[in-house]
Assembly symmetry: D2
Homo-oligomer: 214 residues x 4
């Protein structure tokens, strides 16, 4: 399967009004000396046009966050794993997880929350972990084989988290649906084959981190 843009980040660029009109909602947003200038998004150094983003993607590793949404029982044990169905630009249906870029001035925690809300909707009620440490650091290289993960757009380094969600997921953006799988299904070869960029491995590592991989 050819690897195409595995994790579009619609919150940053393109037709997303968040990306265009609201430059960044990060930790620095409220600062009088550091926030976006009144001249509009074009003058805000933290906002990148499509062309600029394409340019820096060839120069620097890009920081990402990823989240594997899970359902837990009353004792905290993982019972189900959430996966997004997404149509690629070519019309192919693939499975993916919550994923997106950390913006300039934004905390990792804020970025994680923003992408969870973008991908799962405002009623998902994710429970972000108190710890800042990811269960793994996934390194995506444009050339396959360098690591377990690849992304032909860029060199991305992703902090990956398991995030329990307690509400109702209504995918927004370009995700079609959220499906809930048992840990056994989520770790299967069949599911891994439907995920791009090596994210099937990431899901297995997530399950291992919560003791739910057999």
């Amino acid at each position: 399967m050819p690897v195409r843009t595995p994790d579009p980040d619609p919150g940053d660029n393109g037709d997303d009004p968040l990306g265009a009109g609201t430059p960044f909602n990060g930790a620095l947003g409220g600062s009088p000396t550091f926030g976006p200038p009144p001249g509009g998004p074009a003058a805000n150094p933290g906002w990148l046009s499509d062309i600029e983003l394409a340019e820096v993607r060839r120069r620097l590793p890009i920081l990402y966050v990823e989240a594997i949404p899970v359902r837990t029982d009353g004792m905290g044990a993982v019972t189900e794993v959430g996966m997004l169905l997404r149509a690629t630009p070519l019309g192919e249906i693939t499975r993916t997880i919550v994923s997106g870029r950390v913006r300039y001035g934004e905390t990792v925690r804020d970025a994680l929350f923003r992408h969870l809300e973008d991908d799962l909707g405002p009623m998902a009620f994710p429970l972000l972990p108190p710890q800042p440490t990811p269960f793994t650091v996934a390194e995506y290289f444009p050339i396959p084989g360098v690591s377990a993960f690849n992304d032909d757009r860029q060199h991305a380094v992703s902090l990956a988290f398991v995030v329990p969600v307690t509400g109702t997921c209504e995918p927004r953006q370009d995700a079609l649906e959220v499906t809930w799988l048992s840990p056994q299904e989520a770790a299967s070869d069949a599911i891994a084959a439907e995920m791009e960029g090596g994210r099937g491995s990431l899901v297995r590592m997530a399950l291992a981190s919560v003791g739910a991989l057999r």
Copy 2:
């Protein structure tokens, strides 16, 4: 300060009806071949009398769980740390955390939940983490100086967790009160001096694990 019984485990022994009449509520409780025999608690091998517990405490390391209760903001960041005030048998007031033994046949997760409920009450609504890994393993030895932790009753090995609680804490058992401190206060030397067995260090390690230690 002389070290006295730092973490009484009232759910296990003494006058606690849970310990006496309901031998163990653990993972094996429902098994027809493994549960408590009909002859009553005395015939259940998983229940230990005070004398027996005192005896095994001189022969084996005893497995404990400990929990540092925290309040988090909407983004999962820790804002407050819960501490129990407890009166020692000598009438001295000390601070402690949630702590107790894992019983035979009981999962670590079940033990953690049971002790949280014993110490914080039924309306605390703790959010147990999906991960089975503690933020640290605290080793308590009867002789001070072997490790950072000591307990003159026993050699105990404790799996320590940070647990967000979302409800109302009404301490039961012998705890007098739950007080909520800022991370800075909780990590202070003054608070550490009021905790027994080295648990001031444990609180600092807990705060470090959630990025809240300065």
Copy 3:
């Protein structure tokens, strides 16, 4: 496959002179008030006879350490996983990992080192991790199905570590051989089927923790 004694602990009991004559080499060994009494091992409360060990195994969860030995490249990445071949009392050959009980008065670190030396020989030169936290906590119950792990002898709770070894492994005790497998082989279903008590899952979790599970 019937589950039989998956991890004999020859250093503790039976015909092992360490267990019989040298009561415990733990952190408390040197204490004048706490060490073994001059009356010999029989009088040392930290040493358990076979009968006593069998008895406490029905009353308390027993604390274990387990180690997955690995070879790493010069950059610390795992390249190979070590597995022990062991003959069961019935003559069947099984694969296992380093595993054993923590004794009274012994630190987790000391127990880990002792069992690595027992199982891999004195020239293995294991590099124990600076962190006290295991990659997972494996809970073995006597009844299958309670958790991913089972051990029909006892309720054991195991702190499991990945340990790089830099020297030559010459298994002692009852292990026949150490074989080195690639991460892919070690995670395969074929290998998992040759391991008892669910340790195939443990090996996969170990590989996930070092980013080597695909």
Copy 4:
């Protein structure tokens, strides 16, 4: 104390021949389709001039790695913490740790090794951990107070590791000396006051992660 450039990254820019002449030694370096073009470093998209680096630092979070070098005893327990003495451009002496940027095409592990070698010399023989997960993720913002860490040059996100070193440290680049402190000294307020950007907190979190914080 005014916050000045806390972690100069001489391997990337300025007069460092590695940065100028050897565009990147990363995972992609050997690729015929992805490596530096024959036109020289200026044509290599992965190399950034001082001006370009200053520019992207105002647009994107920059990925860093940091390492707290430690000495361990034969059992893996941390006995000493290494700190770098460094003269600031203003001639002030400060303490710091190993720190630097991850380059485009470079793995986190390679970046960690490169900066350890840059700062501790080629004979330090660091033992990189098998795990890809940092003990914490430190977020440096240009404005103080957003998080525990700040860096007035940039928004940097740092993956921080504890790294045992087994050889001899001879600091290169602009570090003057490596000094070894006990865990207690390293965690003291006096030492924290000599570190810039909040790295005193980072050292304490590192010590907590290895169970060496009291």
